[in-house]
Amino acid sequence: MAVAATPNATLPQIKGVKDVPYDELFVSGHRTCQGCESALVMRHMIKAAGPRTIVLGSTGCMYVANTTYYTTPWVVPWMHTQLGAAGSAALGTSAGLKVLMRKGKLPNEKINVIAFCGDGGGADMGLGAISATLTHKEYNSLILLYDNESYANTDIQLSSMTPYGAITTFSPTGKAKRLMHTRWKKNVPGMLAAGHPESRYIAAACAGYAVDLMNKIRRALEVGGPTFIHTIDPCPKGWDYHPQYSQELGHLAVETGIWPLYEVFDNKLNLTGPTRQIAEGRKKRKPVVEYLKRQGRFAHFTDEDVDHFQGEVDKMWEKWLIPGVIPFTIAEKDRALLRVDTTPLHEVKKPA
């Protein structure tokens, strides 16, 4: 039954689409919606990680719609974990493997451990456990948060990752209230990177940029210790658009600057993909309305709502200490204390 494998295989960076592994380790058998970007994240994730991987999956669409008895799409070993338990699942699995190998009860080899969770499971309920795991630097694991911006599986309820103003079944529009949801989306990868200095790799990604995503997965698994990746996943059902536009919406999330792509590798920030181009001034941020108007969940937005949204995104890019990553800044009188050049990124001259 063993999956053909090269034990202790290293995971080199993928140079381009042609370099992507051919083997599919997430196959048919699931019943996610047409155009489900989260299912694509699963496929890319395990393609990049390879067969010597154990995957733990939290409750949510990627469990319920993805893993049906007798028709599992997982070619690798897979186990369910509870909604708020991705962090603990990663930690327990990794600790188990480590001690069993140390005591000679399991053959010594590198086995990747990936625990995934949704935004509800990871950014709301399970945030504490993920945070704890990111401090246990002696255990290797990757926690992947696939963010479809709602509790999708339970019929699209708002989570702390649902964007401002979006319609969900817990935030409908009504006669008295146009906007039921007025909280701004939590900045999870930024918060985790800022709060867990010993995690060697934390990244924000999007399956619309598949090679970038796969390389982030590989880097996270290669550096060792606990790591974290957050993907933004367009969800046709929850966001209310035609399934054929998933990739495009992923791109728009990045191109409008709403979802910056980056990695914090050994405590160094590296912007990736179009985010880097925007920061370097080689690409202009698209107006957020181009993204918002494509989705039914924002159909009730007035011009003021759009302006408010645009204003918040502008702040991310113009006011934050590190655009899209660190939201606070420093008082003018204390600028000298800062170790980095504080010139807003959009004003930084393109490197020669």
Partner: protein
């Protein structure tokens, strides 16, 4: 920490145990060492965490090699060991009172997954209001979820039951988690002399943990716990039920083996009987309340009363046949519950309901009385024991109970 009393420790090479003055918690820590546990997860709450403190010291002193994880809460604690157990690690975990409840989701799924996690519940009253002392409602909340549930009376029995727990829980015929009940303070933190087996002796009793074809590993790429819905859930629940039924015999086997190797454990793996041979009525309970009740029995016997005690050692699987066989010999059973079940039939305690239900299909049954006593760690003193005795004796003589007079709270200020 444990003071080893070296009683001719190396005098004979066939030495199977040494004696030490230890608490219930320290006795469990010794069992963790002897079982070569691979992963344990800790979180502070009194009184169970005495085990985690004792185990931490054993690790710090180089006496055992365990992956010791300090978790961010009880839910994580129980999830961590559950997942370690699935990749083949022998595990230990525990909690008390509200901590046990904080872990409840993880506890429920561990039963469903049939992963042989071994836990202790250092029994403690639930908040609110706060109380440190023992009460059994924490453990009892998981009684329907597929956990085996032994209850210890002494530190010695804590150690013995822990070794049994890994053996029975990990047995492929069973493969169920085990929650050992240890009364807070009375047992967790009271020192007594305990016989600590040698590693060689334990190795003869406890085989290595082997999950077989249920191991989660790239060489065995299974999918564990996919969504089954109404199509399969009932069949899977039925398998848990079958495992629980098989557990009775596996416990008997383990008990017999343990007795052969160490000479301890009494005649019956499920029940411990005290002065019951000619008894007309008995007290019935579990955990440390056996101690004051035994003292009372000796006193009452000196006055000529034919009273005894039956102590339950395994609450799950509930040993119905053994209970029936034992209890039908008596005219009245005074069940003492260190728990409550508000609004239940006759307002009785949990154990009372279980005993009564076990006896129901018998044509001729003893009178069963419910006593709620010792909640929140209140000591059951001799006056209380006398009250329980008098009421039980009266019922035995009368052969019945008045409607509405089934359950009595003992030693409560009105």
């Amino acid at each position: 920490m444990a003071t080893i009393i070296e009683k001719g420790q190396d005098a004979v090479s066939s030495q199977i145990e040494v004696e030490a003055l230890v608490t219930g918690c320290e006795a469990i820590a010794e069992a963790i060492r002897l079982a070569d546990v691979d992963v344990m997860a800790a979180y502070p709450i009194r009184p169970y965490d005495g085990v985690m403190q004792a185990a931490a010291k054993l690790i710090a002193d180089g006496k055992m090699d365990v992956e010791y994880i300090v978790a961010d809460g009880e839910h994580s604690q129980f999830e961590i060991v559950k997942h370690a157990c699935a990749v083949g690690a022998r595990v230990f975990v525990g909690s008390s009172g509200v901590g046990w409840f904080y872990a409840m989701e993880a506890i429920a799924v561990t039963g469903g997954l049939r992963l042989p996690v071994v836990a202790i519940c250092g029994n403690r009253a639930l908040d609110d209001p706060g109380a440190f002392g023992t009460e059994h409602n924490d453990s009892l909340a998981v009684r329907d979820l597929g956990w085996l549930m032994p209850w210890a009376e002494t530190a010695q029995e804590s150690l013995d039951l822990a070794l049994m727990a890994w053996r029975v829980g990990e047995d492929k015929r069973v493969s169920l988690p085990v929650a050992i009940g240890l009364d807070g303070a009375f047992l967790t933190h009271s020192q007594t002399i305990v016989k600590i087996p040698t590693q060689d002796a334990v190795n003869k009793f406890l085989p290595k943990y082997d999950l077989g074809n249920r191991l989660l590993h790239p060489d065995n790429p299974i999918t564990i716990a996919p969504q089954v819905d109404q199509d399969w859930l009932m069949e899977i629940r039925r398998q848990n039920d079958a495992a629980m039924r098989r557990a009775q015999d596996v416990i008997r086997e383990a008990h017999a083996d343990f007795k052969r190797l160490f000479g301890r454990g009494g005649d019956n793996p499920f029940l411990d009987e005290y002065m019951t041979d000619d008894a007309e009525y008995v007290f019935f309970g579990q955990g440390t309340l056996a101690l004051p009740m035994k003292v009372a029995i000796r006193r009452l016997r000196a006055q000529g009363h034919k009273v005894g005690l039956v102590r339950l050692k395994w609450f799950r699987p509930f040993p119905t046949a053994d209970i029936v066989k034992s209890l039908l010999r008596f005219k009245a059973i005074g069940v003492i519950d260190r728990d409550y079940s508000f609004g239940s039939p006759n307002y009785g305690g949990v154990l009372y309901h279980e005993v009564r239900s076990a006896l129901y299909s018998q044509p001729k049954r003893p009178v069963v009385l419910s006593f709620i006593a010792g909640l929140g760690g209140r000591e059951i003193d001799q006056n209380m024991a006398t009250q329980i005795f008098e009421k039980t004796k009266q019922a035995a003589e009368k052969g019945s109970l008045d409607q509405g007079d089934t359950c009595t709270w003992i030693g409560v200020r009105e």
